[in-house]
Symmetry: D2
Subunit: 368 residues, 4 copies
């Protein structure tokens, strides 16, 4: 449904063209500082800007209506509201009855027996991720204070590939400052060209994002059904357009021998490490002291202006659609901060399950 | 944890070398026939056989100790026990203190503060998937009776690739009869050679499995956090060795334009279909009438006989391990039925959430 | 935490003196009419009025910001916001550091490590029940349309007792129209006198409420941990001031013999009934066709103006408190609609679990 | 369903006349000692003995088949199996089709569409509480080691009343040694006489049990839906025959003024206490340092040998039943240890949620 998490629990609500979207974060550690400017900074990373992104003006004024007192979390449910200001329903009237290919228009129409709010994708709109980012900012910042960093960059768009993480701790700090996060700055221009080209041809592109998490204690995650991979993937696939995830060497494991895929362990200064990190920091679903590494693939934006065949649910006939609203030729840049936010919720929940409710404020003993 | 599912809920227990492993299926539709021979058939698909698989004799005698009456499910929790007969703890004494690379030995040792049952990987052993298969058989059979089929085949081992699903309804029926499920029989020999070669060199290989689900109603799945992708991936990553999942075109979406990635809709005989199935039967997390398609990557078996560097947790020194137990050079064949079983639990749970508890016995109206 | 329900799930947020309180209802049946005037009517039943209730003006303007489209539920999360207008924090400044006896001041102070919003009880305030009532109204109305009624009346205040339910179907209809719901109108004056007396002596009173639910199908509820009694009691105790619940003959069962306590069954016109209803419509946690009956005890309002000994958490010394804010000498009248609302959520959730998501719109077959 | 708990989670399975009953405890703190003799001692408290209890021989051999290693919990799911040896299905053949009044026979028949295992009440049998007791013993013992005691006694059977807790810490120790736990030994004979009388007249009696929990930290429990009262009542009502629960002064709160019901706070030696304990150790759903106190009412055993009117579900006609099986004239003595066991699970779960997974082994800092 629209609630996620076991102890740290988020609930989402809202539609693309409704009055407000929002997030409620339940059972959050009391006493976490709420840094309005950092929330704004995170929101600005998700906000569309520049010629290559939707001209919909997302001001993302947010209001924290509960769970905050004197600038800190109280421990009671923290709710953030974001109003929908720049909605132009007229854009969508034109497509009324025409099911947009690649979107949830048809599936939600059947699921909700025709009662769905279809405007702009309604509840299925990427618009809701703004609330995830606003709430995630609080948790991202708390994690950073106790030594856990989460970073990501655009690894691939069509045939252009960025470098993979090498010196991850430092790279994360740098990437988190960038508008368009890539490790190898020389790919920036090529990627931009691809996106511009897609826009000019009324089309869109997707991409692959590499994510990394550092600073975790060993022993985080749960056996079987709540492995780190299970819960992180669950979280990632709740973000629209995500269609694949792989941990460590991922699909390349099919090409390797066991002797190439295993990560040998060794002590260095009494601390356990592995020589390689094929397994992406996770063994048996549990963190092993190495950085968590995973790739997420984002499909090309489904909304394109090109004419497409589709059905009209009102006339019950085949028809043609040209989507004239405001759309992104690529959301892969904007989705970075969403992935990081969702990852933050997952990691924070695991920490609370293991160390108790105050861990996000007090930290944990790395040797335990 | 060790419980999965919202309304149809499974709980797992047991260790590789404990007395018994087991599964409890809670809130299952009453009145489903329990076909002991089909359960045995499914177990036999997971059982190691032939020179290329572990010589551990897994007899998989199972006992249903609750939830069955007169050959039918009662609706009360159904528990299946499987005893561990052919355990040779001596194999593992040798490795005591030596953390096997690629396994959960070290991570579980830290997680459980040193109290873990380390024999054969304990609770993290693939042995537990036998219970998943036994329970999954009941649900797989029920689903088939109401028109839903789940099938899979080995798509790739190293550089050998099987064909992808084309005529999926018929292919599933054929694949489910095969010992080593591939669509293009000509790849069988090559794949076997690769596995044999790995075995002879004391090594192992992984692979990619393609799964398909047909016959679903439109509108299954939930928005945001319980998308079909979220819940299926959660289930798949709870199976040891799985390190990646992709739906539809998956990671290849990064290479496509939106106009290539969208699936155009059309009416045929008043029934909605899409011309292509890039999205793997899912839009916005909800089923769209096309077959659900996804690939899962399985890493090479972590247990290999080759010498590997590692740590000894008892001496707290670096050391070398040669794993002498009984191991599989490839588990990719055996894991097929496990993926299908877990998928069955996921789909059945979604159906019950939408149509009520008796849906697995009574079926559903496809037009609703 | 602040989320309740298995399939139909409510999440609460807000504080007595925060910006807004709210409720999110997730996974609600799409297509339920939203009757703003009925929501207002329900809110008016909870609102303090008359000399015997707090003069805090609770206007209860509410705003539905998501999950509604064209006057119907969409199936997406429905969020209702209620602003806090008439807050007078100055009332509470006076008691800063003084822990009010009978309240959660001290327990929440420790629980939240001193970060709690202490104003007016913060998140523990009865104020939040306004949001429960607003959301419950939608479900209460839907239930009524499919034949399920929920009613309650004030059974006892100190030594004055109302009659118990006899002709429950008709009595519920009448009670739901009343400002101060009692079956025997002659106790109304006596109860009012007791409340007035308590008010004039700066004190307060509690009471017992009898609740009834009619029209349920047989077979609702789950075995063991989700018996109707378990889930209803869970819901009732989530309402502040509730300190006891009993089903059917309740605590009087201690005085009865088995032959007096059992309800004998019989067929009448092919329909099963019981001659008596000692068990309050529930056997083994499952509904049995008779009305569900339960009593709930509400303790006297903890806020009283009389001087009370207490501690000052700032000075860490013993002290005396005189609570000068605006308080109710009795909340037993106002709490009726809250109990009915929470009961509605519980019953609707059970129905959805058994019959599927559309049951609140389409109803159910009583013979199944 | 049959799973309970948020982080510490128990799952139950089995039927009165099935092969085995069992419990799985998931996410239990690793490293807790498993004391087989204490488990046996707890089981012996639940076992029927003496002329006034069912002659069914419940040997309660139990087997721990997972989650234990070298005498300690491992942290993996711990499953305990108890075989059903002395089943006499013939007793129940006689009543086939006759729905026993006061039992779940009819409600489960409808709920499970006629597929229920009806023998001896099947899954609804009190027999399953043996597994709760076996598992609860491990947790009860762990709690005692970190300073938390749970005790209970028979407060009332018909018109005979025991004293209430006064010096609870010491009284719990004494009560836990007794076969028939009462504080005032002089009521023992009277209570026994009432039970004997009921037995001789083929009838049964119920009673009220007072429970107490000491040694909790302040601040345990969650706001709103997971108040201590909510979760404890949820747990208590999952035990068959329980029909009411009240905390602190409970239903007597209806007779009190606020000034009589509030518990005034004071510092003594820098430790906060309350002068009275009307609220049973809980304010706003959160523990306040005083003992948790609650009463539970148990209805008279539904199985009586007296002739009772009922329906025959096979003939669909009215009929008469005389239950000739082996029954208890009173289960109130045997149920004590069940209530204590369920309370232990609830408290342990709250502790883990607040302090992390290792709290049951390492304890907690009372000042936090």
């Amino acid at each position: 449904m629209n609630t996620f998490g076991k102890l740290l629990r988020i609930s989402m609500f809202g539609e693309s063209h409704g009055a407000k979207i929002g997030i409620t974060i339940d059972n959050i550690t009391p006493g976490l500082p709420i840094d309005q400017s950092f929330i704004k900074e995170c929101l600005s990373k998700r906000r569309p800007t520049g010629p290559n992104e939707t001209p919909r003006v997302e001001i993302d004024d947010f209001e924290i209506v509960s769970g905050e007192f004197n600038g800190f979390t109280t421990g009671a449910p923290l709710t953030i509201l974001i109003p929908n200001n720049d909605t132009k329903p007229s854009d969508y009237d034109k497509t009324l009855g025409l099911m947009r290919p690649g979107h949830a228009d048809y599936t939600s129409h059947i699921k909700y027996s025709g009662y769905e709010d279809y405007r702009g994708g309604g509840h299925f709109s990427g618009r809701l991720t703004a609330a995830i980012v606003a709430g995630g900012a609080i948790v991202l910042q708390a994690l950073e204070k106790i030594g856990i960093k989460i970073g990501s960059h655009i690894l691939k768009i069509r045939d252009v590939e960025d470098d993979k993480f090498t010196d991850i701790e430092n790279q994360i700090d740098e990437l988190n400052e960038l508008y368009f996060p890539v490790i190898n700055q020389s790919v920036l221009k090529e990627m931009s060209s691809i996106i511009t080209e897609a826009r000019l041809s009324n089309d869109s592109v997707g991409g692959i994002i590499e994510c990394g998490i550092t600073g975790l204690p060993v022993g985080l995650g749960e056996p079987m059904f709540d492995s780190i991979e299970s819960v992180l993937s669950h979280a990632m696939f709740s973000i629209g357009s995500v269609k694949g995830i792989e941990f460590g060497d991922g699909f390349n494991f099919a090409n390797l021998l066991g002797s190439e895929a295993n990560d040998e362990l060794f002590y260095e200064n009494n601390r356990v490490q592995t020589k390689t990190n094929h397994n992406g920091g996770i063994n048996g679903g549990i963190s092993n002291s190495m950085p968590i590494l995973f790739n997420v693939v984002v499909k090309p934006t489904a909304s394109i202006s090109k004419a497409q065949d589709t059905i009209n649910i009102n006339t019950r006939k085949n028809d043609v659609i040209e989507i004239s609203g405001r759309h992104d030729p690529a959301i892969v840049r904007r989705i970075n901060i969403v992935l990081r936010s969702m990852s933050a919720f997952v990691i924070a929940d695991f920490l609370i399950q293991r160390y108790g409710i105050n861990v996000l404020r007090e930290g944990f003993n790395k040797n335990n």
